[in-house]
């Protein structure tokens, strides 16, 4: 501290401002114009509120999507097998290879089917009547499948039963219809042992499937399913074109890696595996998609809020020219003036940050409740938001505070109060 010697030895200490006095002056400065302060705060509230809402909702939504994904889709693997180059060459995946896959740890159910090529579906009809008013022939896809198809495709047999190993071994002419296929053909019950004609040959309907819950196997509902041996005999469908697998939770990526080797040891690269994407990647991907645009919006609001604070603080400084002059006359140093205005704008920013963060958190909770989500809130975010608001206020106040500090008390004092 600087001491000045005066005559008689009385020292005059350099001007200083007690911290408590400073706080009082700052609070009084903010409190004298409540309406203006409220409007000034609004920009920061919007900016911080948008940021908190965006980050909170995207974290919440990301968690929800990943959660739903984990429970169902992450347990489904499909293997597509390309057709043979010539009918005589050995199959890429022989039917017997399915057993290798079923033995793997983590596999719940495995089924394979060969499917009629698109555009070459055989005609399927429920009877031999020739009715000129109705189209009775339906071109339906026909699947030659193994017995575990309902389990692997996540469907149930709604009426009757599915064929078993005996039907396959005996190459029986039995058929299980998909839900839509049964409706098209007018087959609603099986206790009267209805028959359908596939490519002209009669097949006994032994069951009708219910809804298919596996998203990538919805084709099944419009198909007719027969034992793969019968399909090979009658329709020359040949070896399997698709293998579908359900796994226990978390095993899908592992099985997806092992399936080609189990099915086609000689040439694993010949088959194409469709496995779910890594849940962790999916989560971040979703979060980034949702939040990117809104984050920019929030930052823009924050900049607008900062400009608002800067503008209003500057106007306040101009309005309070006389007060600044008075304080300088009363012994305030330039730094006292600068600190006071800087703290006022910082306090306004902090207030905006607190209100904005609160509003944002409420918004996240409300959005979560309406969507039946579990709100996910980062505690660090709730703490950082008011600080961000204070920083915005501090930066916005720099220029006005400097302007105030540079003011000459001489000019300020003679004007009207």
């Amino acid at each position: 501290m600087r001491w000045l010697r005066r005559r008689g030895g009385t020292p005059a200490p350099a001007s200083r401002l007690d911290l408590r006095d400073l706080v009082t002056e700052v609070l009084a400065g903010i409190g004298t114009r409540p309406a203006r302060t409220a409007l000034t705060i609004l920009g920061t509230v919007l900016g911080i509120g948008t940021l908190v809402t965006t980050l909170g909702v995207s974290a919440t939504a990301g968690n929800q999507i990943a959660g739903r994904f984990d429970s169902v889709t992450a347990t489904e693997v499909a293997v597509e097998i390309p057709p043979r180059l010539t009918p005589d060459s050995p199959p890429t995946v022989p039917w017997a290879a399915l057993g290798n896959l079923a033995r793997l740890n983590g596999v719940d159910a495995v089924a394979a089917y060969s499917r009629t090529e698109s555009g070459k579906e055989p005609s399927v009809r429920a009877n031999t009547l020739r009715d000129p008013e109705r189209v009775l022939d339906r071109a339906l896809p026909v699947l030659g499948a193994t017995t575990a198809l309902p389990a692997a495709a996540r469907t149930d047999v709604a009426v009757g039963r599915f064929f078993d190993d005996g039907h396959i071994a005996r190459r029986d002419r039995v058929v299980v219809l998909g839900e839509q296929a049964a409706q098209l053909l007018g087959v609603t019950r099986i206790d009267n042992r209805p028959a359908v004609f596939i490519g002209g040959a009669p097949f006994t309907v032994i069951g009708i499937l219910g809804p298919v819950r596996r998203a990538d196997q919805q084709d099944l509902t419009g198909s007719a399913v027969i034992p793969w041996t019968t399909a090979d005999d009658r329709l020359h469908l040949g070896p399997a074109t698709t293998v579908i697998i359900t796994t226990v939770l978390g095993a899908a990526p592992l099985i997806a890696g092992q399936a080609p080797i189990a099915l086609s040891p000689n040439d694993p690269a010949a088959v194409r595996v469709e496995a779910p994407p890594d849940p962790a990647e999916l989560r971040t991907g979703v979060a980034e998609d949702v939040s990117g645009l809104l984050l920019i919006l929030g930052l823009v609001s924050l900049v607008v809020g900062a400009l608002g604070i800067a503008n209003v603080t500057l106007v306040t400084v101009m309005e309070r020219t006389a007060e600044i002059g008075l304080r300088r006359a009363l012994g305030a140093r330039r730094r006292h003036i600068a600190t006071q205005f800087l703290l006022e704008s910082t306090a306004v920013g902090l207030l905006g940050g607190i209100i904005g963060a609160s509003a944002g958190i409420i918004a996240v909770v409300v959005i979560s409740v309406t969507r039946h989500w579990t709100p996910v809130l980062d505690a660090g975010l709730a703490g950082a938001a008011p600080l961000a608001g204070a920083t915005v206020g501090l930066l916005a106040g720099l220029y006005p505070a400097l302007r105030a500090a540079r003011m000459q008390p001489v000019d300020a004092l003679r004007g009207p109060a």
């Binding site: 600087r2 000045l4 010697r5 005066r6 005559r7 008689g8 005059a12 200490p13 350099a14 001007s15 200083r16 401002l17 007690d18 408590r20 006095d21 002056e25 009084a28 409190g31 004298t32 006389a322 007060e323 002059g325 008075l326 304080r327 300088r328 006359a329 009363l330 012994g331 305030a332 140093r333 330039r334 006292h336 000459q408 008390p409 001489v410 004092l413 003679r414 004007g415 009207p416 109060a417």
Partner: protein
């Protein structure tokens, strides 16, 4: 009696084109307990002299000693400290903070002087009692008359116990009744030992001082207050 103010050879020229000499070779001594009025028309250099006396501006030439301290060589921080602790300002337009009550406004007078916070309220109350405003402590300035506001401003100037009360057109915004009240207060303060410098263009206000100094074109000349050459205007009162 020791000198409160000692100006010697003070000059101030504004660097306009052409340069304007606002003060020329000013010598002025004011001793403790003096009641001095500085009178002059606008443009005579009154404001410049006020700014220099109030340590708000620096002279180009000459020396200015405040209570024996040579101030022209001091830096801004030191002059600010001296200004805050040793000079009490009274302005034409009062400069009270409209949103703070009377006590807060008076306490503002020692906010920056380093005076202890404890006892500040009592000191403000004492200063308000000195100017006869003890009964208006909790009022906002907006509810006071002009004369009352100026008395609050004087209390604010008095709270730091300054060496000098520097008044710039203190009655410029007041009607005759309030002017008389403020001038009466100045006389009471002078009787209590306060050093007063009143800068005005009003001969009637100036006439109340013990000692009168005229400023014309930046030059000072002493007037003998006993031989007032201008008639004292009636309504604002003659010599008390």
């Amino acid at each position: 009696m020791s000198d409160v103010i000692a100006l010697s050879g003070v000059g101030r020229t504004f660097a306009t084109d052409p340069p304007v000499p606002a003060l020329v070779e000013v010598d002025l001594r004011i001793t403790r307990g003096d009641y001095v009025s500085i009178i002059g028309p606008s443009g005579s250099g009154k404001s410049t002299l006020l700014n220099i006396l109030g340590l708000l501006d620096l002279p180009d030439t000459g020396r200015y000693e405040l209570e024996g301290v040579e101030t022209t060589g001091l830096d801004d921080t030191a002059r600010t400290a001296l200004r805050g602790s040793r000079i009490g300002f009274v302005f034409q337009s009062f400069h009270l903070l409209a949103h703070r009550d009377v006590t807060d406004n008076v306490m503002l007078g020692e906010l920056y002087t380093g005076a202890p916070r404890s006892g500040r309220g009592e000191r403000a109350a004492a200063a308000l009692d000195r100017v006869g405003m003890g009964h208006r402590r909790d009022f906002r300035p907006g509810r006071l008359s002009g004369g009352e506001r100026q008395r609050v401003a004087i209390a604010r100037a008095l709270i730091g116990d300054p060496a000098l009360l520097l008044c710039d057109e203190p009655t410029g915004n007041l009607d005759s009744v309030n002017t008389a009240a403020v001038l009466d207060l100045f006389e009471e303060l002078r009787a209590g030992g306060t050093t007063l410098v009143v800068i005005t263009h009003d001969e009637a206000v100036s006439a109340r001082a013990d000692r009168r100094v005229r400023i014309t074109d930046g030059r000072l000349s002493e007037l003998d207050s006993a031989t007032v050459e201008l008639p004292v205007l009636g309504a604002t009162g003659g010599r008390a």
